[in-house]
């Protein structure tokens, strides 16, 4: 293709001469002269299939009409897309498509934005020669937790089938049966379930595949549409938020967003929008008196908070004040947060509330388009499929379309595309093909020593692009804005403060008087759960800004109700360093403030002059423009929490695995994604399952150092190292950080499938 790219072919479409690269399909060539050719089965991202036949055009010299979607351009071709012959051909195709299509447009979710409606209006005759009744097929078929199928409406374009195969690489949907009985179903008969199912509802040109969450809720013309950036993970997909009467009813991908999302959304981003009006949401500041929270006014909250900070600084100096979080804030909020605390002399700032240590890849950071073009991709640490799903689609695209080599180091899941799975970093470098000229390293930002060894082991004279998938949407933004103990905005050197580990250690020694936590949940996400719980209990004044009563909020002295991403304006910085706009599409509930408004309120009480809005914007833009000079695993990001990965002789070591639907905040309080949430599961290797005499479906209780974790469902997986017990990160029902890091965990009870209790 690359050779042909320069070679141009001249042809005429509807009398307009144009030159396009050789190999271009007619349907794409016609777009250049703004001539739309109707298509159902063809999709720019899925390629041609030649199934629906609606894209008929007349090519001079061919006796019959040809399909534009599967005909490449040829030199001197004369094409007519609009004339009586073409119209008659399309009218016939549409009549055939409509033979069994029900006329239930008034109740169809697609009605109003349906390609079949539009093209029927444009090309069809308006009458039908069909005398017999239409065939009846099942309606409202439950395909899986997210999708409903209406078999009558399906026009068998197979876009959904091809999406699963070509884009996701997990071909679950197939076309079952043939002729008039053909229908879309999963091949296995199991529920249709992967991280990208929602995209088929947008690909479907008719109303056959629709989302359960949007079913019959509205009509497309009722919706107020706002383009914004998804902040659920660090990819930063562009999306439309469609709101009616102040309720977000659905989100839609932005098709031309080629730079970031490639036009897709994952199911977490698409469906996790139901928490904004959840009844569990906090709508008033809560102050803990004894063991119970009482509602107080914002004025009192600001006064208490400011008083606690002033007293702490006055009595024991600014080192007794700490601030954790920022990965869920906007860039502006993170900037103002660090500005305010640094203005008070507080340097104990750290966005890192979880396992991740670094969010900015540094000087060799690549774009998502670069990732797609890499010859070889090395994935180190947590699977991007569970941390940054849409980024993982780029990896799959590189592997499937460009035959890139995918090497994964100690993966905990199964890759849908061919991959070389190795156990350590040294093997990863050896597994790379010698011919690879560009290598992409996708890291989870956790094990700095491992990534350093990997980078050292990579061959010389190759282009290396680095990527870090973050636990939180704006982790990179928070780091760039200076929510970091060593860096001021733009990675300028700052007066060193305590990092999260040191703050928590100081707090558990009683050396911290005030700890403010913004948009972070260390009690559930930090690897050392016992330490966090001890630290928060010991600190006299803990402030948590949250939407829900998370594990951290429960341990706070003052809980401040915060706005969600759809309720505020600002910018966010994604994993690849693109500054993206966050636009408000919802009105926040009364009494809820954004973190920025909270900081402004606090600054007023403390008498700190914050920079004006324009100054903040300028500072944010300037900070983003700085090119950091470090690499993955740089020592500036290392903390003292290094854990030895030895396999214990007796017992199990906990390994933690991300899941995009986990968490006890926004994802836990959204009934739309309940069915997608991970189970409280413990993954065990087949060897360990034999040792403990357990099989998948059994329930186990765990114990280590006096701490216990009850009733975990066992799932036995091949490919997990012996002596490793894998837990899902961020589940309040089974916190993966229940034990101290590196603790040797024992299985104390086993409940077999028949509920008999066995002492282990």
């Amino acid at each position: 293709m690359a050779d042909n790219a320069a070679e141009l072919v001249s042809l005429t479409i509807d009398g307009v001469p144009l030159k396009v690269p050789k190999g271009t399909l007619l349907v794409e060539a016609a777009k250049q002269i703004k001539q739309e050719i109707p298509v159902y089965c063809y999709h720019t991202k899925l390629g041609p299939a030649g199934l629906c036949r609606v894209c008929l055009v007349e090519i001079e010299g061919t006796p019959k009409l040809q399909i534009a979607c599967n005909t490449p351009v040829a030199d001197g071709m004369v094409v007519r897309t609009q004339n009586a012959k073409v119209d008659a051909g399309r009218a016939m195709i549409l009549e055939l498509l409509l033979v069994n299509h029900p006329l239930d447009c008034p109740v169809c979710d697609k009605g109003g934005e349906c390609d079949l409606q539009d093209y029927a209006m444009a090309y069809a005759r308006g009458t039908s020669d069909l005398a017999d009744p239409k065939t009846s097929k099942p309606k409202g078929v439950d395909l899986g937790p997210t999708i409903v199928l209406d078999e009558e409406r399906c026009v068998v374009c197979q876009r959904c089938v091809r999406f699963d195969d070509i884009i996701v690489g997990d071909p679950q949907l197939v076309l079952k049966d043939r002729g008039v009985r053909d229908m879309i179903a999963t091949a296995s008969g199991d529920p249709y379930r992967h991280n990208f199912t929602g995209n088929v509802t947008e690909l479907c040109p008719v109303g056959a595949l629709t989302s359960k969450t949007y079913r019959f809720k509205s009509r497309p013309w009722d919706l107020d549409r706002t383009q914004t950036t998804c902040t659920q993970c660090s990819v930063g997909c562009q999306m439309f938020s469609d709101v009616r009467f102040g309720v977000p009813l659905r989100t839609m991908s932005v098709e031309h967003d080629d730079a970031i999302s490639d036009g897709w959304l994952c199911d977490r981003g698409r469906y996790n929008i139901g928490f904004y009006d959840a009844k569990e949401r906090i709508t008033q500041p809560l102050y803990k008196r004894g063991d119970t929270f009482m509602q107080i006014s914002w004025d009192d909250a600001f006064a208490l908070w400011a008083r606690a900070i002033t007293d702490a600084i006055h009595l024991s100096g600014p080192q007794s004040v700490g601030t954790i979080g920022g990965g869920r804030l906007t860039n502006e909020e993170a900037y103002v947060a660090q500005y305010l605390f640094r203005a008070l002399g507080v340097n104990n700032l750290d966005w890192r509330a979880g396992r991740q240590r670094q969010a900015t890849p540094g000087s060799r950071g690549g774009t998502l388009a670069d990732l797609e073009r890499a010859n070889a991709i090395v994935v180190l640490g947590d699977s991007p499929a569970d941390r940054a799903p849409v980024l993982d689609l780029r990896i799959r695209k590189a592997v499937k379309r460009a035959n890139a080599t995918l090497v994964r180091v100690a993966p905990l899941d199964v890759s849908p595309v061919p991959s070389i799975d190795v156990v350590d970093v040294a093997q990863a470098a050896a597994a790379l093909p010698a011919t690879a000229s560009s290598i992409a390293v996708v890291w989870d930002g956790i094990d700095a020593a491992a990534v350093e060894r990997l980078l050292d082991a990579l061959p010389e004279n190759v282009t290396v692009r680095t990527y870090i998938t973050s636990e939180q949407g704006n982790a990179r933004g928070a780091e760039t804005m200076g929510m970091h103990p060593r860096f001021a905005p733009g990675f300028a050197a700052a007066e060193n403060g305590l990092d999260t580990e040191a703050m928590l250690a100081a707090a558990s020694d009683g050396a911290l008087a005030v700890l403010s936590i913004f948009g972070a949940n260390p009690a559930l996400r930090h690897p050392n759960g016992p330490l966090v719980r001890a630290a928060l209990a010991k600190t006299p004044f803990v402030v948590v800004s949250e939407l829900f009563m998370t594990e951290s909020a429960k341990l706070a002295t003052l809980v401040l109700p915060a706005k969600g991403a759809f309720e505020k304006n600002g910018t966010t910085l994604n994993a690849t360093g693109d500054a993206l706009p966050v636009n408000a599409s919802l009105q926040a509930p009364e009494g809820v403030l954004s973190d920025l408004e909270m900081l402004v309120g606090l600054a007023e009480q403390l008498g700190v002059n914050l920079p004006a809005q324009e100054a903040v914007h300028a500072a944010v833009i300037e900070a983003i423009a700085q090119a950091p000079a470090f690499d993955l695993g740089d020592h500036a990001f290392r903390t003292r929490a290094a854990q030895a990965a030895t396999i214990p002789a007796d017992g199990l070591r906990v390994a933690v695995h991300s899941n995009v639907f986990a968490g006890d905040g926004t994802s836990a309080h959204d009934e739309r994604i309940v069915a997608l949430r991970p189970l409280a599961e413990a993954l065990l290797s087949t060897d360990d399952a034999k040792v403990y005499g357990v099989s998948s479906g059994d329930r186990i209780d765990l114990e280590a150092g006096g701490l216990t974790l009850h009733n975990l469902s066992v799932a036995v997986r091949a490919g997990i190292a012996r002596g490793t017990l894998v837990l899902v990160d961020g589940l309040a029902t089974a916190p993966a950080n229940s034990f101290a890091p590196g603790a040797v965990v024992r299985v104390v009870h086993v409940r077999k499938g028949d509920s008999t209790l066995v002492e282990a």
Partner: protein, 199 residues
């Protein structure tokens, strides 16, 4: 001068002649509300939501009425029928249906747009009340009682496609225009029905 005045008297007599002529005709006004006038057959008054003969609501919550409404008076929110409590034939029904009768201009476009003949304008016109909010009519006041339903629901027709799609005349005939129509009285009937349903 004199001739001009005489000419004026003639004009005055001519004008008064018309007045006197009507004094001896039957009065066109009626002592409303004790006497009711016959409405024109296609008078556009207060809306009602119809049902099928089996009591199911005709409205499928498609919002075509609210889209057609030039006054933005109609708000519809659809929902999915629960299998154990089916409100309408098919999969969708109107969970909320509200008409702001103060906004309504009684043009009848909603009636034209309705694919199931669910929304119809009746000759009822008496809607006085003390509060503006009372003029937002929701399903509890718009829906006819279950026994007033007409027509076969589309479920029972082949393929669930209503055969009478878009034919308003059949449903209109449930109001007996020829027999006269007491709007006030009909309102009373509706109230009793509702009380009966509630009790």
């Amino acid at each position: 001068m004199m001739r001009k005045r005489l000419y004026n008297i003639g004009a005055i007599l001519q004008g008064l002649g018309i007045t006197f002529k009507f004094m001896f005709r039957r009065q066109p006004t009626v002592p409303y509300p004790s006497v009711m006038k016959q409405h024109a057959p296609r008078f556009h008054g207060l809306h009602e939501l119809r049902r099928y003969a089996d009591g199911k609501e005709r409205c499928i919550g498609c919002e075509l009425c609210s889209s057609a409404c030039p006054a933005n008076a109609i708000t519809v929110i659809g929902a999915e029928n629960a299998p154990e409590d089916r409100r309408s034939p098919g999969e969708r029904y109107a969970a909320r249906y509200e008409i702001d009768e103060l906004r309504c201009i009684f043009c009848g476009l909603c009636e034209e747009a309705c694919p199931t003949d669910a929304i119809v304008l009746t000759p009822r016109f008496e809607m006085s009340d003390y509060r503006r909010g009372s003029f937002i009519y929701s399903k509890d006041r718009l829906l006819v009682p279950p026994e007033a339903g007409v027509g076969t629901p589309p479920d029972e027709r082949p393929n669930g496609i209503p055969a009478d799609l878009g034919r308003v005349a059949e449903v209109k005939s449930t109001v007996d225009i020829a027999a006269g129509y007491s709007a006030t009285n009909r309102g009373e009937v509706l109230k009793t029905h509702r009380r009966g349903l509630a009790g």
